[in-house]
Amino acid sequence: MVAVAVVRVRDLFSAAMLFAIYSLLSAALFVVLDAGDVALTEAAVGAGISTILILAVLTLAPRYEAAIRGVNWIAITVVVITGVCLIWAVSDLPTFGDPNNPIHVHVAPYYIEHSYKDFGVPNMVASVLASWRSIDTFGEVIVIFTAAVAVFSLLSVKPTRPARKPEDEA
């Protein structure tokens, strides 16, 4: 419901607030699904950083979205067809929460058993993230550093006046 409201609301400020509510709700969902680390990260990032950045851009951009005339039938058809194909593909996936699912059988039991025995680290997510799959985390640090470089290079150009002011077009 909140997602639909984010799409339809024209006031971008309210849309940002609804977006923060959506992030908090998904963080709560992650807690119910036994993912403590992920819930913490999603709550901090989605409800904190993403919303702050969107609001920062909104102080520099128009606050209201242009009115949508009519209903965009092509977009709705594309979305509905993709949705139907995805739902049809879902039927091949394993059942929710079954302990005999393929992803719980191969590598994960080794990690779960040996995290405390070999490392003395109770938090299995941290030991997988920093020790067994450490190179992925390294790549991710590089990615976020690259994002900083990209934003810096984009925003280091001095702002100039736009080529044509919107009220000059008659």
């Binding site: 901090a44 102080t59 390294f138």
Partner: protein, 150 residues
């Protein structure tokens, strides 16, 4: 927002608490949910709160932009240095086993240092991105066409 008394008092209490909690999550990443990313984002959020209340200039006086640049690079460099240390001491890249004698404490030491690097980089990157966006507002100034209902 500096004049608003309630906001000032509340943030004066909250910002040190948030930073302390971020440090707690950083260093207890092995025992409870947490680790580098969460701690970095929370620390940056505390700084952003400070900037929202007291203004961007006060925030940049506390942590200047040059420091943010240096910190974000040094976090990634720390990560790579730990990895290369593993190679120098005889193992694979990012292998923690050769770092100390006891295998368990070697892994724990490696994990703590690596998470520290990650946390420093994430915090400084988020602070940097926010200050770049916020500085734009000051650069645009009054000559910009006024915002309104377009």
């Amino acid at each position: 927002m500096r004049e608003n008394g309630i906001l000032r008092i509340v943030t004066r209490l909250l910002i040190p608490l948030i930073m302390l909690f971020a440090l707690y999550i950083q260093f207890h990443g092995e025992y409870s949910p947490g680790g580098g990313f969460q701690a970095g984002v929370m620390f940056a959020a505390a700084w952003i709160l400070f900037v929202l209340i007291y203004g961007l200039d006060a925030g940049l006086a506390v942590i200047p932009e040059r420091v943010m640049f240096v910190l974000s690079a040094s976090g990634a460099l720390l990560y790579a240095a730990i990895g290369l240390l593993g190679v120098v001491l005889g193992g694979n890249f990012l292998d923690y086993a050769p770092l100390m004698e006891d295998s368990q404490s070697a892994q724990q030491a490696g994990i703590i240092l690596v998470e520290l690097g990650v946390g420093v980089t994430v915090a400084s990157v988020v602070m940097l991105i926010f200050s770049l966006f916020a500085r734009r507002r000051g650069e645009q100034g009054e000559s910009w066409p006024a915002e309104g209902d377009d």
